[in-house]
């Protein structure tokens, strides 16, 4: 299975939990958003405390957490988005 390297971004509580703002990470290029989140929690188990209340974004667009197939490409920007509180 093809694997691609993407850029992970952590914000707010997820940034504090993980202790960094960004990281590189390899995923299977053919995956789902639910699977991505699972892989992230394997790598950063501390994230499990907020797993119920995060979404992801891929290249600055929100990703619904579901089992729909999606294709990652090398260099994609994947962000962990805790509940927002701007305004």
């Amino acid at each position: 299975m093809d694997r691609v390297k993407v850029k992970l971004l952590f914000f707010a509580k997820s940034r504090e939990i993980v202790g960094k703002k960004e990281a590189d990470f390899e995923f299977a290029s053919c995956t789902t958003s639910v699977s991505i989140l699972e892989k992230l929690i394997e790598e950063y188990p501390e994230l499990s405390v907020i797993a119920e209340n995060v979404v992801l974004s891929l290249n600055e667009e929100y990703l619904e957490l579901d089992n729909q197939e999606l294709t990652l490409q090398a260099g994609d920007e994947l962000a962990i988005i805790p509940p927002i509180s701007g305004g």
Partner: protein, 171 residues
């Protein structure tokens, strides 16, 4: 901190926007000037500017709040703010939309966001600005941490955010 000024006509979707109104969105670290933002929204063909200013409250749930700290997913925040402008234009005939979010430390009584909308007649601007702040709260990736009197702190969650703890999955 660079400004991002798009004529609405440059957006993908062409609506009433194409008549010449401008969308100006930004995320900055400096103190916001309501005067400058109002001036930017004002136009000689508009008779009304409606504004929303979000300010830091000194209390939450009986606890004293010292300050707020904001962070943003900068490019996505601007993108979502521009999408809010687009949506406003699909619903109301407005002229200019200016939407500036401040990040970093925002002391009590200072503004974290200013949204200004101008329109020929006032109803459109007033309704549009109300919709715009509601939509920003629900969609723009910006986060706020409340710092309390005892220096403890808490990441806040907008009620409008669909994946916040305020909307627990039915179980």
């Amino acid at each position: 901190m660079s400004g991002e000024c798009n004529t609405a006509a440059e957006l993908d979707t062409v609506g009433p926007a194409a008549e010449g109104g401008q969308d100006h969105v930004d995320v900055v670290e400096d103190k916001l000037s309501v005067e400058a933002i109002t001036a930017q929204a004002t136009s000689p063909t508009s008779g009304a500017v409606a504004l929303f200013v979000g300010t830091t409250r000194n209390n939450f749930d009986g606890k004293s709040v010292l300050r707020l700290e904001y962070e943003a997913y900068m490019p996505m925040a601007k993108k979502k703010m521009l999408e809010t402008c687009e949506l406003v234009r699909s619903k109301w005939e407005v002229e200019n939309i200016v939407m500036i979010h401040r990040i970093g430390v925002v002391p009590v009584q200072e503004a974290s966001i200013v949204i200004a909308v101008s329109s020929p007649h006032r109803k459109e601007a007033l309704e549009a600005v109300h919709f715009a702040i509601d939509h920003v709260k629900a969609t723009v990736p910006v986060w706020k941490k409340e710092i309390y009197g005892d220096e403890s702190s808490s990441w806040k969650q907008n009620q409008e955010c669909k994946w916040s703890g305020a909307h627990p999955p039915a179980s």
